[in-house]
């Protein structure tokens, strides 16, 4: 069973539906200690970084404990940003700190609208398991204003005015800035790649 963390940052219907279509069983833990029975953890979310405040120290400790035991973790959109040390969107809130770097706002200019909404391409930089069968240049659906920095953990980079990390992976911790549940076949393939890590 995969734990889908519901911290009220957006609607989880689509994420649930996509995992179900791939045959994965999900549950939504109500208390942090329920994570002990999870084979893997998914942190979805859209919206403001402040929403992660709901995931206080008890959740952070429980998630880090499971990750420490080797359980795969996938962050989606805001959930991916939360894997980093923090975000300038809510400077006072720490992230999980599993990946180094801080998230920041994209810069708008004449030809670059913020938020970044729509289909954009993945520039695949590393052949990690999370991008198995994902073609370089494949397009996926984004909707966000803040981004994670390009670091050694960046598996794919996307550019909207400036380059940012669109897929990250370090061992069994991975994250995607786009919405795999809304990105057609490419998105489903990324979720399938995550499920392979769970087995």
């Amino acid at each position: 069973m995969i734990a889908l963390i519901d911290y009220k940052a957006g609607n989880l219907t689509s994420v649930r539906k996509a995992f179900s279509a791939l045959g994965a069983e999900l549950f939504t833990p109500v208390r942090p200690d329920e994570l002990a029975s999870a084979d893997a953890i998914v942190v979805p979310g859209v919206g403001h970084f402040a929403a992660t405040k709901t995931l206080g120290p008890a959740w952070i400790d429980a998630i880090l404990e499971q990750v420490g035991k080797g359980r795969p973790l996938l962050g989606i959109c805001l959930g991916m940003q939360w894997l980093f040390e923090g975000s300038e969107e809510s400077p006072e809130l720490p992230g999980l700190g599993l990946l180094s770097g801080r998230c920041y706002r994209l810069h708008a200019d004449e030809s670059t609208k913020i938020p970044h909404v729509g289909w954009n391409s993945l520039d695949v930089k590393r052949e990690d398991s999370i991008v198995d069968e994902v073609a370089n240049g494949a397009q996926v659906y984004f909707t966000h204003s803040y981004v994670a920095p390009v670091t050694a953990d960046s598996v794919a980079i996307t550019t909207h005015g400036q380059p940012f990390a669109s897929i990250v992976q370090r061992g069994h911790v991975s994250g995607v800035q786009f919405h795999p549940e809304k990105s057609g076949d490419v998105g489903l393939q990324v979720l399938r790649n995550f499920l392979v890590m769970v087995l």
Partner: protein, 251 residues
């Protein structure tokens, strides 16, 4: 590079797509789920279900339609028409809509934009603006286009953004159904006034009309219904045409 989006609109009444349907190979003409699958396989970037039902059973029928369309669809789905309250929006979202489109309700109760943006995030809130030129001013009209509002389309788009709208769906009443091309002047005026994406609607008749609205019209996305329903052109051939004109698309 961010692609320009092609959005197909399904006008649905009592669970059936109205406006002309002329696809070969569809088992049930007018079945929204089947049409959605067809568009998805052709590479459409997003779907809008516009509910034009006017019965008391509307809400339940709409939820069933959304569920049927969303079941196997893994691209963004927006739902509009008849969403007047937070409860209407919640029903659409729970049925599988990723975005709700507010039109009349946003004008009469602008705080609904903020309420929904706080509950679901701005990315889930589309504000639909129907506009018509009155001299040099683009005036906002309420649905059916019969009652002129006292609002200016550009001002209203700015206010909608400030209140938390994530995108603007801009329909030209002058061009709707005419097939003489999108209103690029109107689209550019609104697109330059806001930083959120603007979806142009109304007037699509040829492939070059889409080229025009993405260049002169500065649109971020373009929406059409009958040009696709009648199979006058497929989404795929439209996107190939756009790519030949150096417009970034997802192919």
């Amino acid at each position: 590079m961010l692609s320009k989006r092609i959005i197909a609109c399904l006008d649905v009444r009592d669970g059936q797509v109205v406006k002309g349907i002329n696809f070969e190979g569809l088992r049930t003409a007018g079945d929204p789920a089947e049409l959605a699958r067809r568009y998805n396989s052709e590479g459409v970037d997003e779907l809008v279900i516009l509910d034009i039902t006017a019965t008391l059973e509307r809400r339940r029928a709409l939820a069933d339609t959304i569920r049927a369309v969303a079941r196997e669809l893994f691209i963004p789905l927006a739902v509009g028409g008849g969403i007047r309250t937070e409860a209407d929006a919640a029903a659409a979202v729970e049925a599988g809509a990723d975005k709700v489109s507010l039109n009349t309700a946003a004008l009469s109760n602008p705080s609904l934009i903020t309420t929904l943006a706080e509950r679901y995030g701005s990315q889930a809130v589309l504000v639909a603006i129907d506009a018509k030129w009155e001299g040099d001013r683009a005036a906002v009209y309420v649905r059916s286009g019969s009652t002129p509002g006292d609002r200016d389309a550009v001002d209203w788009a700015r206010e909608a953004e400030d209140r938390g709208a994530g995108e603007i769906l801009l329909t030209s009443i002058d061009r709707d159904g005419t097939k003489v091309g999108f209103d690029c002047r109107l689209t550019a005026a609104v697109s330059q006034a806001v930083s959120i994406p603007v979806i142009a609607s109304g007037g699509a008749g040829t492939l070059d009309h889409f080229v025009d609205v993405f260049t002169a019209g500065r649109a971020d996305a373009a929406l059409a219904a009958s040009i696709f329903h009648y199979a006058e052109t497929s989404v795929h051939s439209l996107k190939q045409h756009l790519r030949q004109h150096a417009i970034p698309v997802r192919l």
